[in-house]
């Protein structure tokens, strides 16, 4: 830290310029606020980073993960239980932080879900339907979100309009259709672009699940199906099914990302908006009264410490980094896993994943034709869409199949059990099964546990000398039972699909680890709620303790749904921005009584 300087004060500072940060910056700038966004990574855009001549490159983007922040710069430590010593995650794992502006949103797959209405009220609904004993089994720590799906619907709608999401409604203002997902919450209107094509693996899945009396539908995805102009005035082009999507940029401007959907409008139209890149925010500075903050401190690319004063601070970094900044800044009480008191670090949850690998004979799946978010799913075993009375768990999983990509390096691991992994036996098998592999992926709910939480590691530090985040977590008994149940459903579906070989998997049958990528959907740690003793932020994502701090992202989810989180992150960001522009700006102070 050689020098220290202070930037001019602004109305709002945005910490982390991914989906949540860019959406909030756009909404606040539109309301004529003077906004500065700070991101620890470099500027990054479709051109020059991932044009058509650079994007279709599995080694660079998917194998070496060049769009992610390297663990060298930011990682975490983990342990399963309180009595263990946590160890550092040295290589890439489940924690996928974006390596530049746009964050994860630049290289995500594009599955653009709304959570099920049940996901927001798991505690209340469980007590009501199955009794208190099911909700409080001694391990789980269920709590409602403090809002309902209906309250968030307008924000989901605006997020989908900004991202151009391709899909087909299953529940339009309460009217069910069989062509979409009949289990989804009521939508106020259709998706902005029609659903994508049904590709080979989806065909096989749709036929089998329909015959079984289940309800397959095309996953809503932010890979747009036709030319589209979003409400910010940005144009997107139709998806070409190139299959270089999840872990990649998009050379086509077809996959929704902050770059494609928000940056051009935000940066072109708002002279009062500034973006500072390669600058790592290390602290939020509390005011003398302890009830508000004065700005943030960051370290710029020359290693200088800089103060950025602001009236409003929005923490919109990745889930993990939001929680770490709260802890580093002393905002709100850290969670104590022995007493369940305190709010920062509380209710970490993951995604409980099981499923089955499938192999067919003599088919032509043509897996290279696909889009990141494209696939078919059934929600018959997701959320509380099926009766759990005679079962010993709550929650479920979206059971999906993918028409995403046909990555030759990664798929070399997707061969039937017992197949040689090298030599001519490997070459023979791969020549055959590259065209005949499919997956059933059960993306399961994840319920928070009392002993699962985030705090600062006592030993390991990042390159700035700041403590790494420490994760203590293992799957709940409830979630293990759920994963086994849905795995067995996947095996049944795989048989019906006509697979010649099926190999089931269940990540929850072993202890949790951050090193093996069951999913990258980590959530919680600064959760929202109606009660300040069990949540860090209120239903507008406003800190209960420092009224000018808003903490926005998947860090706010008190539990995880059986879906990808990005749609809900986008909706919550727009909701927080709405609260700031509408009420907070006029009358700064607590927006909600605790």
């Amino acid at each position: 830290m050689t020098t220290r300087r202070t930037n001019p004060k602004v109305d709002a500072v945005i910490v982390g310029f991914g989906w949540a940060g860019s959406l909030m910056a756009a909404e606040l700038s539109r309301a004529n606020m003077n906004v500065v966004a700070i991101d620890r990574g470099p500027w990054r855009d479709t051109f020059p980073d991932t044009p058509l001549t650079a994007d279709p490159d599995e080694l660079r983007w998917k194998t070496r993960r060049e769009l992610l922040a390297p663990p060298h710069d930011t990682t975490l430590t983990m342990r399963n239980t309180l009595d263990q010593t946590a160890v550092p995650q040295r290589d890439f794992g489940i924690s996928e932080l974006g390596g530049g502006v746009g964050g994860q949103g630049f290289q995500w797959a594009g599955m653009a879900w709304r959570f099920n209405p049940w996901d927001f009220r798991v505690r209340s609904e469980t007590i009501q339907r199955y009794g208190m004993a099911r909700a409080e089994d001694g391990e789980l720590q269920l709590q409602d979100w403090g809002i309902t799906y209906a309250e968030l619907e307008p924000d989901y709608d605006r997020w989908e309009q900004i991202a151009g999401v391709a899909g087909q409604a299953g529940n339009l203002r309460g009217k069910l259709t069989s062509r979409g997902n009949p289990f989804e919450g009521p939508r106020s209107r259709e998706y902005p672009t029609p659903k994508l094509k049904t590709l080979r693996m989806m065909e096989i899945f749709n036929k089998a699940t329909s015959e079984m009396g289940l309800h397959p539908f095309t996953i809503p995805c932010a890979n747009v199906s036709q030319a589209y102009v979003n409400p910010l005035g940005v144009t997107m082009a139709p998806c070409t099914y190139c299959g270089f999507c999840s872990s990649y940029g998009c050379g086509n401007y077809s996959k929704a990302s902050p770059q494609t959907c928000v940056f051009p409008a935000l940066l072109n139209n708002n002279p009062n908006f500034r973006l500072i890149t390669n600058a790592c925010v290390t602290r939020v500075n509390k005011a003398a009264d302890g009830k508000s903050v004065t700005g943030v401190t960051y370290i710029d690319q020359n290693g200088s410490e800089v103060l950025q004063p602001a009236d409003i601070i929005c923490l919109t970094a990745f889930q993990m980094e939001n929680v770490r900044l709260m802890l580093l800044s002393g905002i709100s009480k850290p969670y104590d896993p022995l007493t369940s008191e305190g709010v920062v670090g509380r209710n970490f949850s993951f995604q409980t994943v099981s499923g089955a690998d499938l192999w067919f004979e003599e088919d032509h799946i043509n897996p290279f034709i696909g889009a990141g978010g494209l696939g078919s799913q059934i929600d018959d075993y997701n959320s509380d869409n099926f009766d759990h009375s005679s079962l010993d768990f709550i929650g479920g999983a979206g059971i999906l199949t993918l028409s995403r990509d046909g990555t030759p390096i990664a798929n070399a691991n997707k061969l039937p059990p017992g197949t040689p992994r090298w030599g001519s036996g490997f070459k023979r098998a791969y020549s055959n099964y590259y065209q005949n592999y499919g997956v059933l992926f059960n993306q399961g709910t994840s319920m928070p546990i009392k002993r699962g939480y985030l705090d600062l590691d006592p030993t390991y530090k990042d390159p700035f000398g700041l403590p790494l985040l420490r994760l203590t977590y293992d799957y709940a008994r409830n979630d293990r039972a759920m994963a086994t149940f849905t795995m067995n459903r996947a095996i049944q579906i795989g048989k019906r699909m006509g697979a010649s070989q099926i190999s089931a998997f269940n990540f929850a049958e072993k202890p949790f680890t951050t090193a093996i990528g069951a999913s990258n959907h980590t959530i919680g740690g600064a959760v929202m709620g109606a009660d300040p003793t069990s949540s860090a932020v209120n239903s507008h994502l406003q800190s209960w303790d420092c009224h000018n701090v808003f903490v926005v992202g998947a860090s706010a989810f008190p539990n995880n749904g059986g879906y990808n989180p990005t749609g809900t992150v986008g909706a919550l960001a727009l909701r927080a921005a709405r609260a700031i522009c509408g009420n907070y700006a006029r009358k700064p102070g607590a927006l909600q009584k605790g």
């Binding site: 470099p42 070496r64 060298h72 090193a515």
Partner: protein, 257 residues
């Protein structure tokens, strides 16, 4: 004698880490992924420039023998033999070395990957790291691991077979590789033979199936073997032809002359 040649000769016998770093520093201009680019930090307005940035990937690879990371001839001979058992020449396609997997690996080890530039390598190293994470963990760089692994494999076959690995019959080579894969063969006490096998298998597959741009997969042989059409960017004409054999000719990122 040129500086590089001098270093290469030296490397054959007793390469010091400092020399490797000097050579790498002299040859590689691009920094590791984790470093900060020197571009401007503050922006207002949308950038209008279309210049390529400094994070462009390494330049196209030169084939044929000149090694920047794998500089010990005996190591290269062992590695070639291993790679060609992992992916041998047969009716399904050419061998790993024929399609340039050694060129690929040498280039990878020369760059940020070889230096483990993305890994978190801070201590203390805990004895239970692998048990907790359920996966092998490394502080050593891939370049260091190859050096140590190939030396250990050499020592092992000299001990058991009184010959270099490369000079053993294919059936015996396969036996040793299978032993490494299954963890039944120990290559000294300090080296995880199983993890070293996995490193070699991972890298040879990368070389065989990555874009030819990176030095392997010559003539897109790996892609032709499985039927992957490569760096194509538009399948809209084929989305309705589900379940059909499409016979698409692969394309790569390497510009045609």
């Amino acid at each position: 004698m040129s500086r590089n040649k001098l270093l290469l000769q030296k490397g054959r016998f007793n390469m010091k880490r400092r020399d490797v770093l000097t050579l790498i520093g002299a040859l590689v201009a691009a920094g590791p992924i984790g470093c900060k680019p020197a571009c401007g930090e503050e922006m207002s307005g949308y950038p209008t420039g279309t210049d390529s940035n400094k994070r462009s990937p390494l330049k196209s690879i030169e084939h044929g023998g000149f090694r920047k990371a794998l500089m010990d001839d005996e190591d290269v001979r062992t590695l070639k033999a291993v790679f060609d058992r992992l992916i041998p020449e047969d009716q399904f396609g050419p061998s790993a070395s024929k399609v340039g997997c050694l060129d690929f690996l040498d280039a990878q080890l020369t760059g940020g990957y070889g230096e483990a530039s993305t890994l978190y390598r801070e201590g203390p190293e805990q004895p239970h790291e692998e048990q907790m994470l359920q996966k092998a963990q490394f502080i050593a760089t891939p370049r260091e691991r190859y050096r140590a692994g190939l030396q250990a494999l050499r020592a092992y076959t000299l001990e058991t077979d009184s010959a270099s690995f490369a000079d053993l019959p294919p059936s015996r080579q396969d036996e040793i590789l299978a032993g490494m894969e299954q963890g039944t063969i120990k290559l000294g006490t300090a080296l995880d033979a199983r993890a070293f096998f996995e490193l070699m298998l991972t890298n040879v597959r990368e070389g065989y199936f990555a874009d030819p741009y990176y030095g392997g997969n010559k003539d897109m042989a790996g892609w032709k073997m499985i039927g992957f059409p490569g760096a194509r960017y538009d399948y809209r004409a084929y989305t309705d032809r589900t379940g059909q054999k499409l016979n698409l000719v692969p394309v790569s990122l390497v510009p045609k002359n």
